[in-house]
């Protein structure tokens, strides 16, 4: 159950980034989670909601994009999504293919809205 720590890292990074922009409030943070990261999207969403609830960021949404495992064929260069554990090239059938992506744990983007500062 490391999703709580990861949710906390996402929350902290969001606040840190939003803090750089005056009079802007974060409304949605988008993350990319590769299928090889062993992070459960449902548990991550649950933990994120638990962290933000009862804070001034209770309306902040977490959007999770799950990224499949991708390989590239060493013979023809085709990039393809790996289904199950079949790593052969979808186009030419070559056995030797190389890992391209699928272990991402990245902050993709942040949506913010403007608000009137009471002290300004």
């Amino acid at each position: 159950m490391h999703e709580l720590g990861i949710a906390n890292s996402i929350f902290e990074a969001t606040l840190c980034e939003a803090g750089l922009h005056r009079c802007m409030r974060p409304t949605q943070v988008t993350v990319r989670i590769g299928e090889l990261t062993a992070v459960d999207p449902g548990a991550l969403q649950f933990c994120f909601n638990a962290l933000t609830r009862d804070t001034e960021f209770a309306k902040l949404k977490l959007k999770i994009e799950v990224c499949p495992r991708k390989h590239r064929c060493s013979a023809c260069g085709t990039e393809f999504i790996v289904n199950g554990y079949d790593f052969r090239c979808r186009r030419c059938g070559e056995e030797k293919t190389d890992f391209v992506s699928g272990d991402q744990l990245e902050l993709a983007s942040l949506e913010m809205e403007q608000y009137e500062s009471v002290t300004a």
């Binding site: 159950m1 490391h2 720590g5 990861i6 890292s9 996402i10 990074a13 980034e17 922009h21 802007m24 409304t27 993350v31 090889l36 990261t37 062993a38 992070v39 554990y85 790593f87 890992f99 272990d103 744990l105 990245e106 902050l107 993709a108 983007s109 942040l110 949506e111 913010m112 809205e113 403007q114």
Partner: protein, 226 residues
């Protein structure tokens, strides 16, 4: 509404510390291996065998992680190498900052081989880079042969899979060939060794793997320190 592209790692603070550790290990010529498995697969037993078997020119050290108790450190200290226990108090994995804190007081120039024994867990430790040169996953024959398929992340990220408790093979329904095929389905290039910590089978091959890995690492270290 404004959309701001971020393109940053979620665990960037952990990754930053891990990158610093990796650089330190390389500068000092310390080969660091991160051992990961389910609880009870034989990480501590493999380390006991290792510390018992390595000859005099290997200066080893161990950081061993558990949620509670000093038991593993006590078992490993008997061999005369530096050992520190990391008790996480509930956290199910080690992170890079725990490694950084527990290295304080150790002279890395006097350590050729640093073993990190992670908290027994096949899921969470796979997300946290500890600055190691390689991850090593252990799978015992009392677990299922489909474990690599159920927990692909750690088998994909490990350079070596060690199948342990092979002395129990006659007593359990475990198809070792199928387990190895499954590990290779997840990670086609993975090295695989079979060991019995109780009987000592395969330990020579494990030590030879360490030796080969250390030679590779030293050539990298030589380039880095020129």
């Amino acid at each position: 509404m404004n959309q701001l592209p971020l393109e940053k790692k979620v665990l960037k603070e952990n990754d930053r510390i891990a990158a610093e550790l990796r650089e330190r290990f390389l500068t000092h010529g310390t080969l660091c291996l991160n051992l990961i498995s389910s609880p009870g697969s034989g990480k501590t037993s493999l380390l006991e065998r290792t510390l018992q078997s390595i000859d005099g020119d290997w200066r080893a050290a161990v950081l061993t992680g558990d949620i509670q108790t000093e038991n593993d450190a006590s078992r490993l200290r008997r061999f005369g190498f530096p050992v520190k226990q990391i008790t996480t108090g509930g956290t199910c994995h080690l992170d890079a900052s725990m490694i950084e804190r527990h290295l304080v007081g150790w002279d890395l120039d006097a350590i050729d081989l640093l073993f990190i024994e992670n908290v027994g867990n096949l899921v969470c430790p796979s997300s946290y880079d500890l600055g190691e040169a390689a991850k090593v996953v252990l799978l015992s024959v009392t677990e299922g042969e489909d474990k690599p398929l159920k927990y692909p992340s750690i088998f994909f990220k490990s350079e070596l899979a060690v199948i342990t408790k092979t002395d129990l093979l006659p007593h359990v329904h475990f198809n070792i060939t199928e387990a190895e095929e499954n590990a290779r389905r997840v990670h086609p290039g993975i090295d695989i060794l079979r060991v019995s910590n109780t009987r000592g089978d395969g330990i020579t091959r494990w030590i030879a793997w360490l030796d080969k890995r250390r030679t590779q690492y030293y050539s990298k270290h030589a380039v880095a320190t020129v």
